[in-house]
Symmetry: C2
Subunit: 406 residues, 2 copies
């Protein structure tokens, strides 16, 4: 299959490129290195030492004898993207080419605008290019479970049957995104749904949970093939951050009471899910939505797991509660359906102490590279008290950290 | 009250500015004349001869003795908007400053991107400026009934209680927008809802139906105060277009079978609704949604009404079915709740033959200005056959007009 991977230099994009190339597909990656630039701006960086894209591609050729084609540019540049799509004529596009950090989108107006511009306009450009050049192409778009927020009802996979005043319809699940980044992904879903309904495109929206893990089958084959691993406030995700904190003797930074429950999955399962989506394409005119995670955990449960695994490798790990910079419920109902990928054949790698221990071991190898300053949260997502209709949904237990706006 | 009107040079923005100024409020308008520029690009224009903004402001001063302050610039320019908000310190912002044409957004990638960029980024800039400078300010945002599409259940005002697997929650109404313009308004709603829930801002989202009418209490006071009146394919709305067609002897251009049912309201009622929203502000933290229309009509019903009113002023009006350039159901269930503005005291101006006759009379006065070329639809919204899960929702009865993509 001819596969175009947007954001192919990133944490998930690069291992995905390797996976499809290893399976014999014709892989092209596109990246504008925005993620590397954002880290430069924050003076943070990947825990793992990562090669430049050209070096990665060279290393993969050496290791596997296979060629990955690459283009440097951004999806926000519609003409660039259009040329790439026309030239490569992909049968599947896997779109990771977005600003993917929630706290980044909340730093300032500039960061919020950069996030929504890159994500919404980039995705919109892609929809037009697919429509124009490869209308049968399967768009595999990375969404996020964070689009749904934490409603008081079960979270279905994209659509919900609503019975209202004696009539019924199956409609998109209502969304309660928790950051301007999450909002941007809801916007993307709305645009993609439109393009499928009105232009007859085909898409799979993978509403992914929080990904953890360092290695995949392919990245372990050569150190130059390593993918990035972030643990900083902006780009690090809960479990990855905790593992790094455990290894450098920093208390695990649990926000508030730690009852925030989300879906999680291993990076190896991300690759499995994307492969399953690609080999079972959506129908023309269909926007299929899969909830892509394997297990639900509260932040407190994760912290305790890391503490236990830490003890077994001789680390005394402290868990400490920090004021929550996010506006979110710390105790809430959470039950999200996630059966469709299992139905397609997903074999989950479950999270256990053994897996955490192996992550800790990998991190130990690079722990001298940890930038301490990046560990603590600095971005406050709200600066005022909340009132009105939705206050009970978002009541925070803390004092605002920033300057009050009211 | 200090009131800032974004898009204050437009069809609704200018009469709104006059209304609030007439009532003794301190009014500032902002516009970048994008609407005039888009008409220039299409070689179309307002049926009514409209003055430049500075001339309008002068005329209003002469007529009323009142001052309207104006700034020239676009909401997409975050720094400009931020200075205006800081300088004027508004108690209410009425946001009409958007690209508001559905067919415009479907012409090409450039038009789609311009629409979503102007609307989404402009609105996002505004949310940050309000948060930063006037967190108690009431945002009155013009949305559209078109955000909802035509679901098979009743359309509630913004929120719906969902009973699902034994649990309940009140959540945003799921949306099925019918163009990339309508998508942009859904994105705005998502961002505003976020800002209310997380930052404690207050907003009223007015999901407006299709507006018709030429005159308001203030615009009739002097010809230089006239608002624009569009009848072209891109910016003209159904009834306004039909009235112009009737007066120039062009058949009324009904798309397909004409069963498309939507909510409509008189321009005078738009002003009433916006006034009612401003004098009854939302609570802090609340995003209130009102469905802003007074009556539902099918396109066919409107055409017949114009035909009848035409006959009474001695015009023989032909109704003709044209291939539908839009992807929409031509027969569908439609029942939208719209009681909240009535509860606040809205006194609707109902649509009847008399009102249509008075519109026809006004149009007659300017009928030499009609640009014939602008009457027929040119933008096809889809270029392929539709398949899959949602095909039944959007099945069109016609052959595609543009080049097929598949």
């Amino acid at each position: 299959m001819r596969i175009l991977i947007l954001g192919g230099d990133g944490y998930l994009g690069w291992p995905t490129a390797l996976r499809f190339s290893a399976r014999g597909h014709e892989v092209t990656v596109v990246d504008n290195f925005a993620r590397r630039r954002w880290h430069n701006e924050q003076s943070t960086g990947s825990l793992t030492p990562i090669s430049g894209l050209a070096d990665r591609v060279d290393a993969w050729r050496e290791v596997s004898g296979k060629e990955i084609q690459s283009f440097v540019g951004g999806v926000e540049d519609g003409e660039f993207l259009d040329r790439v799509v026309a030239d490569t004529s992909p049968e599947a596009v896997i779109h990771y080419g977005q600003q993917a950090s929630a706290p980044f989108s909340m730093i300032s107006r500039r960061h919020a605008v950069e996030t929504q511009h890159a994500n919404v306009i980039g995705n919109l450009n892609l929809l037009w290019s697919i429509r124009e050049h490869v209308p049968n192409c399967h768009l595999i778009k990375l969404g996020t479970m964070g689009e749904y927020g934490t409603p008081n009802i079960d979270i279905e996979e994209g659509y919900i049957e609503i019975d209202h005043k004696g009539r019924k319809d199956t409609l998109p699940v209502p969304k309660l995104p928790g950051s301007l980044y999450h909002c941007s992904k809801v916007h993307d879903s709305t645009n993609i749904h439109f393009a499928c309904r009105h232009w007859g495109l085909r898409a799979t929206d993978l509403n992914q949970g929080v990904v953890y893990g360092v290695e995949t089958e392919e990245t372990v084959q050569d150190e130059r093939l390593l993918t990035r691993f972030d643990y900083d406030e902006l780009f690090g995700t809960a479990l990855n951050r905790f593992c790094v904190q455990a290894m450098i003797g920093h208390p695990l930074t649990v926000y508030g009471r730690g009852g925030q429950t989300r879906g999680y999955l291993n990076i190896r399962d991300t690759l499995q899910c994307v492969e399953l989506a690609a080999s079972n394409p959506a129908d023309l005119g269909e926007m299929r939505v899969y909830n892509q995670f394997t297990e639900q955990f509260s932040v407190k449960e994760l912290a305790e797991l890391v503490q236990k695994a830490g003890a077994e490798v001789g680390r005394e790990v402290e868990i400490k509660s920090f004021p929550n910079p996010r506006v979110e419920l710390e105790e809430h109902y959470y039950n999200a359906t996630h059966s469709k990928l299992l139905d397609l054949g997903l074999q989950p790698h479950h999270l256990g102490e053994e897996l955490v221990r192996s992550m800790l071991g990998k991190i130990d190898q690079y722990k001298d590279r940890v930038i301490q300053r990046a560990i603590m949260p600095k971005t406050s997502w709200s600066t005022g008290e909340l009132h009105g209709q939705f206050a009970e949904r978002v009541q925070s237990t803390r004092e605002p950290q920033g300057a009050p706006v009211a």
